[in-house]
Symmetry: C2
Subunit: 541 residues, 2 copies
């Protein structure tokens, strides 16, 4: 079944939910010829006059697109957190470009507040629409040509519209065994339940998926075979795994075989960080990298492809967001998908959020169109490097605090990856060296190769108070102990789709984010974590 | 059943839909004590560093709060549209105040982009929350003290969350016989149907409501008695009616009796425009009005109260929006309601839109807090006067174009109001005077005393091609004829809740908005309408 480039999306409207089918087409669609007449006087809509919008203009000091370096530029040292704290980009003088958005503009092609702040269709402003379409073509290269790009207020809104359009109550959605809690919290009240698929070091396992679907027993499951998949293939939340091209092709073909719609939630796509190397193995002084022509294309080519690239049928609904690349508060994201689905998402937008905020849309659009495509890619490259440094720094902190032992993982969610087991380190302050002498690992993890999170597996079965099925209680106890000491991680139970089917039943988990805290705070948090977990493993609780 | 001031909301959780009941409480609620610790290091959330938000500051030229006059200031004349066109405020030099929002601020009390553009709870920024709570207290004076104010992305989002939280599929919602089409388009695909309540010149009729509920026949209707009402009490959309205090109290008590939740959708609340007087009866030169201390309180006292004022039980969910008072593109509104409902709306927000856009929120908040409460009320007074002038000008245009005859309406949706019947006027250009000689009214209307719309009832039964049940076709034919001539009104069929039960079955309708077009265009549109409707009534079609 060869993937044919530039095919047309196939009709997939049998996937629509009852609610989606009941939505009427826009009543204005048939009348659009009248609205488009030159000089038409429309007294139809309840539009306030823009004269009454209480502002005459807006301006923004936008960062330049090459604000962040392309490669780590400072010496790697155990004091780099201090250097970074002092030199942190938030305190450096930022280079900016003044951008202004007037209330009225000479031509409608220029972004203006009179238009941006008026009621409008639940689609992007034309300038943003053009930018996004070009961006999708160049970066994701969808395999079907009639794809639609439609904005939303971010991927939470996107997923909410997607399952509402695809799922009836009582249906299930295929998900990675650990997943984004908000995706669950959106759909479960609507009677749509997760169907857990086992993972390995690349995320969802294709063989496990095939097995699950081929052996699906409607009666035993009390559920028809799922026709929708929700997947976070890059910077998997919470596990931090990245799915490569081969696995994506395998999963796509299984979804063709079983007629499944893939919802690809991909906020961390541009945070593909590469493999972590121990500090001692990284070159101590990175050579400064200057920008060269063709760099954007090389960067894009270096990224694992989106499912869209293999989507010759139009069964992928890709969710993109500006939350991680511009700012979460922009509340701006976009679908790329089959026009059949996009039309239903647009109707749903009209009767819920309407268009995303005109302030946010026009500011983001103006920044993007000022940078242009090449500038935005340069910005994304800079961000990638920043998060890579944060990831490296955080794992270095763990390596400073614990004795790490690298082992190839042969089973479980990290199968195929180099796993690090963390042992207590002998220390002049820690006179109790029982733990190390017994070679008892406190936890294990793999340094993520994308995204924002380290996913820790606590070796609770080695805890003195451990009894089977007690791991949840121990996880919560350690979580609370940490919180009382001023450090908050995300507890593992947030992220589970299926307690019973988990391939890691006897381990507690924490998700730790290295994306936001100052470097000094990351260091401090790891020190506190070290002290608390050592004490915890050394006592009956 | 006396309305007691400052009572507590009563428990009304039996009104929650199955979906709303299935929503879990926020998992973070129980953990909030940890997050609030001084100096806590949270590595739990997937937050990007604000250093990566690509802007260092934002500034806005905000209009001053007294930008618009308190009373009409120019001579009323048939050429006022020309005067207004040339002198329109959108072309006048606007008086502005420079407002800036930095990325980082010295104290968290100052609005800053680092906080506004970060992920946050689905509630307002603290500065906005304080402003709104004070505003609700002073303006709407809710009768129960434990009300909650919660932001949303506008009243479409608000209604979408409200019916989702209150209604199961198969249930009905009490609505005015003519209503806002988007409210229908949101709920009907979810299997929630309108139950039409007759109207008069004040909107929904209380006696008709009582009759409908007391005689409710579950079997004949194939529906349980509705427990939710959707109502637009001010500037009723599309009819332009305003509901007074007495009627509101009557309806509230009926809702207490039958245990009904009232969703008060009130975007036009501050556009209470007073009764239209014919141009000849208005004082020809309005005296300029200067602002005096206490004016805000007098203005607020002059407005018909919200249902909240009588809501001693907490069964009113009020929907407010900044779409008509700031700008639609702000996508910002707020609920005022019982905390039981507000908590569910917040959960629904977390899993759909999240928080409204941080750009929009911080700009609107900064404008409001710069103006302060008194300034915002002054702004609203100015807007009210602007819309009053627009309403007066538009009705004047109709009086210029047609011969208007005032008649008290004794039945139907305008019962109790002065209705105007519009006849063709003899004209030197119109040699066919058959119409006038036959005294055939072309249409009738009441000048609205609030909102943005004139609702026309076409006298289609007097059309030469009229056959019973044909009014829909004739309405569409005239609509298309007008559109072909470059004028677009909203067709009546958009707004119906119940074709069969309508008290005005034989009349076509148009909704005309005077809120946005330039005065010259309003004049021109009425001229074209005059020509087209006269020709239309004079021919077989």
């Amino acid at each position: 079944m060869a993937s044919e480039k530039q095919s047309k999306a196939i009709p997939l409207s049998h996937h629509l939910s009852e609610v989606a089918k009941a939505r009427k087409p826009s009543p204005l669609k048939g009348l659009s010829k009248y609205f488009k007449q030159e000089g038409v006087l429309s007294l139809a809509g309840g539009l306030p006059s823009p004269a009454y919008f209480p502002l005459s203009g807006l301006s923004v000091d936008a960062l330049v697109s090459d604000s962040f370096a392309l490669a780590p530029t400072e010496r790697s040292s155990s004091f780099s957190w201090l250097w970074k704290l002092l030199g942190s980009s938030s305190f450096k003088k930022e280079r900016t470009t003044a951008i202004s958005i007037p209330k009225y503009s000479a031509t409608p092609d220029d972004i203006n507040l009179a238009a941006a702040l008026q009621y409008g269709a639940a689609v992007a402003q034309p300038q943003l629409q053009n930018f996004l379409r070009d961006f999708v073509m160049q970066v994701y290269q969808p395999a079907f040509e009639d794809f639609t790009v439609l904005i939303d207020t971010g991927n939470t809104d996107g997923w909410c519209r997607a399952f509402g359009t695809l799922c009836n109550p009582g249906q299930g959605v295929l998900m990675e065994e650990w997943t984004y809690p908000s995706a669950l919290a959106s759909m479960m009240p609507a009677g749509v339940d997760p169907v857990s698929v086992p993972m390995d070091g690349e995320g969802m396992k294709s063989d496990a998926l095939e097995k699950l679907l081929s052996e699906w027993d409607e009666e035993a499951r009390q559920m028809s075979r799922p026709h929708v998949m929700y997947i976070v293939p890059v910077g998997q939340n919470p596990c931090g795994t990245t799915m490569g091209a081969t696995r994506k092709k395998q999963i796509y073909e299984i979804c063709v075989k079983y007629d499944i719609i893939i919802v690809e939630d991909d906020p961390y796509y541009f945070m593909q960080l590469g493999t972590y190397e121990m500090k001692s193995q990284r070159s101590s002084v990175a050579s400064p990298v200057s920008h060269r022509s063709g760099d954007e294309a090389r960067f894009i080519a270096s990224l694992e492809p989106s499912f869209l690239k293999y989507d010759y049928q139009g069964r992928v609904i890709r969710l993109d967001t500006f939350s991680k690349t511009i700012a979460p508060g922009a509340r701006l994201g976009f679908f790329t998908c089959n026009p059949v689905f996009a039309e239903r998402f647009e109707r749903q937008g009209e009767t819920s959020t309407q268009s995303p905020c005109g302030f946010g849309q026009s500011i983001v659009t103006k920044i993007l169109t000022t940078w242009k495509y090449e500038g935005y890619i340069r910005w994304l490259q800079g961000l990638r490097t920043e998060y890579q440094q944060r990831r490296d720094f955080f794992v270095d902190c763990l390596a400073d605090e614990f004795h790490l032992q690298a082992t190839p993982a042969v089973a479980g969610i990290w199968e195929g990856c180099t796993m690090y087991r963390a042992f207590s380190k002998p220390s002049v302050l820690n006179t109790n060296e029982k733990l190390l002498s017994q070679s008892r690992a406190l936890f294990s993890f793999i340094p993520p190769n994308s995204g924002m999170f380290v996913w820790l597996k606590l070796n609770l079965e080695d805890h003195p108070s451990f009894t089977p099925d007690d791991e949840g209680t121990l996880e919560t106890k350690l979580w609370a102990r940490l919180a009382e000491n001023g450090v908050i991680f995300a507890p593992g139970w947030f992220f589970t789709t299926d307690d019973l089917a988990s391939s890691e039943p006897s381990a507690g988990h924490f998700r730790i984010s290295y994306s936001n805290a100052e470097y000094g705070d990351l260091k401090k948090a790891v020190n506190i974590f070290g002290r608390v977990i050592r004490e915890f493993f050394d006592e009956q609780v």
